[in-house]
Amino acid sequence: MKTIRMLAMAAAVPALAAAAQADTKIGMITTLSGGGAGLGVDVRDGFMLAIEQDGREGVEVVIEDDQRKPEAAVQIADRMIQSEKGDIMTGIIWSNLAMAVVPAATAQGVFYLSPNAGPSALAGKRCHQNYFNVAWQNDNLHEAAGAYANEAGLKNSFILAPNYPAGQDALTGYKRMYEGELAGEIYTKLGQTDYAAEIAQIRASGADSVYFFLPGGMGISFLKQYAGSGVDLPVVGPAFSFDQGILQAVGDAALGVKNTSQWNKDIDNEANAEFVASFQEKYGRLPSLYASQGFDTANLILSALDKAEPADQDAFRAALKAADFASVRGSFKFGDNHHPIQDIYVREVIKEGDVFTNKIIATGLKDHADAYGGECKM
């Protein structure tokens, strides 16, 4: 197992506060091997970029690979909490892993900041005062897509997603906003790579558009097969199937597709411009939305550390809740259930030179909060 220890050793030491400050230990559990590794690598790289740019002393980040396996994630989390005494945890990409790790971690008094997964249960009935989601509640991007479908005049969507918590949240989210009819609704297997059967059903259904949530490699497979099938209905999706990491593997098949995201590299603010430039310089590739989420998560933690120590739980929690940092998304604040209230944009896949990327074409939902806040009793 890969353990990367990063001690942020800053240069000169202004003696007063720093000497008294205890080390803050941040445990990052993310997917660094196997099929979903691209997402974890991006979150890690975004996160570490922010930590390095800040350069302060006394912040230690321990990074471990969960291999996208819930049992591995639980084991690592137990070790980080019990024997390594971590104060803050973060990093998990997949909702099924988050459901296995987060409730136990927060119950033991650890702060957990999610840079990606946002299962509905953790936003509603099982919310926790020490759990913050810095990315989105799972439904959010799909809700924006539903709203966009109405605006685009789509009346008969065929929708599909994998059969796991985030997949169910996805279709629920889309249906919450979408006002038209459904030509069909399919749950596929998680990790499925062949979509011939689903595409045949789409062809036979008489739909006028397709909405799909298939993150990572699943989306690449679907789009390539869809392009080859001769079905030419418009496709709408969340950013997860059109992020920077996979667009190059999809190629022309993705060109012109509309997708929804809370972030894009062309959001016009200073923090974002700096983030995109420095990420590109350090890693030699364009950042994805996952990288932006990792970057924001680290900066949120650092902003809270400026005000309080994690040991002083109430003060640290209040500092996190205030979200007093320069988000690359521009405006960013937390709702009462510690999930973001933010704008969600509609993007289009374009080609810049040789590189496939996205550009924002509209704002899908303004200051959007999730639908589960009411069920959360904190």
């Binding site: 660094l32 099929g35 490699g217 699943m218 390539k224 001769g230």
Partner: protein
Amino acid sequence: MTYILVLEQILNGLQLGVMLFLMAAGLTLVFGVMGLINLAHGSLYMVGAFAAAAVAGWTGSFLLALIASLAAAAAAGALMELVVIRRLYRRDHLDQVLATFALILIFSEGTRWLFGSFPLFLDVPSYLSGPVSLPGGIEYPLYRLTIILIGLGIAAGLFLLIARTRIGIQIRAGEADREMIAALGVDISKLYTLVFALGAALAGLAGALVGAIQSVQVGMGEPVLILAFVVIVIGGIGSIKGALAGALLVGMTDTLGGVFLPQLFALFLDPASAASAGASLASMLIYILMAAILLVRPSGLYGGSA
């Protein structure tokens, strides 16, 4: 439900079946002839896909990419046999599982080290892209049709190889009695390397063919490997005929079950829960099939009594 949809799904099942056959053929030969459980067979599938993606990227030729996938996977397979697998024939299955599992990790991380964590691009060549119209008004992707034809062609070739050639006789003899054919003067270690490389090449070809319509990424082999094991257990371990029958059965069951079970459930459940319950049951279906077949024929459809 139109008959066109049903026919199209049958073609899809057939296509999945022949792909599984390419994987399962090597697996079952290796197990039958050498008595070895090779968990790293999925890694050879991945090696084939990555080699194809790399060569297609350099040369732009899909045909060269396919040849590269065959060559790279066969070379990786032969190397694997010579360096590691050779030492495992006399050990028990647990040691073999452990060592070949280690090979999976080595191949996966090695591939990530060479190619990075992000999926590679490999596309269907333009002369094979797009749909064709089949008699009966079915629109079917030309590439998938090509895969079916290639798969069936290779199945026929393998039957001829096993049934009609000298190598085939040696392979069959090796399955029946290893010591005896060695005593008769057949160079058994060369035969083993050859069989292993042949199986590896087929897996690599499968990886390249499928990689063009799926995503070429680290870890792509393992889900297919699990299905391939189901196939050879259903078909009877060591039997090529069994591998073909098992592969087609699993391909059909998986495809048709995934499509029609949710629709069956929709007759008495609301659409959302029918979709979810149907999908869950459909993903179990091939294992239920395997259990049912093993109940009636404990050594698989074409398995010997050994």
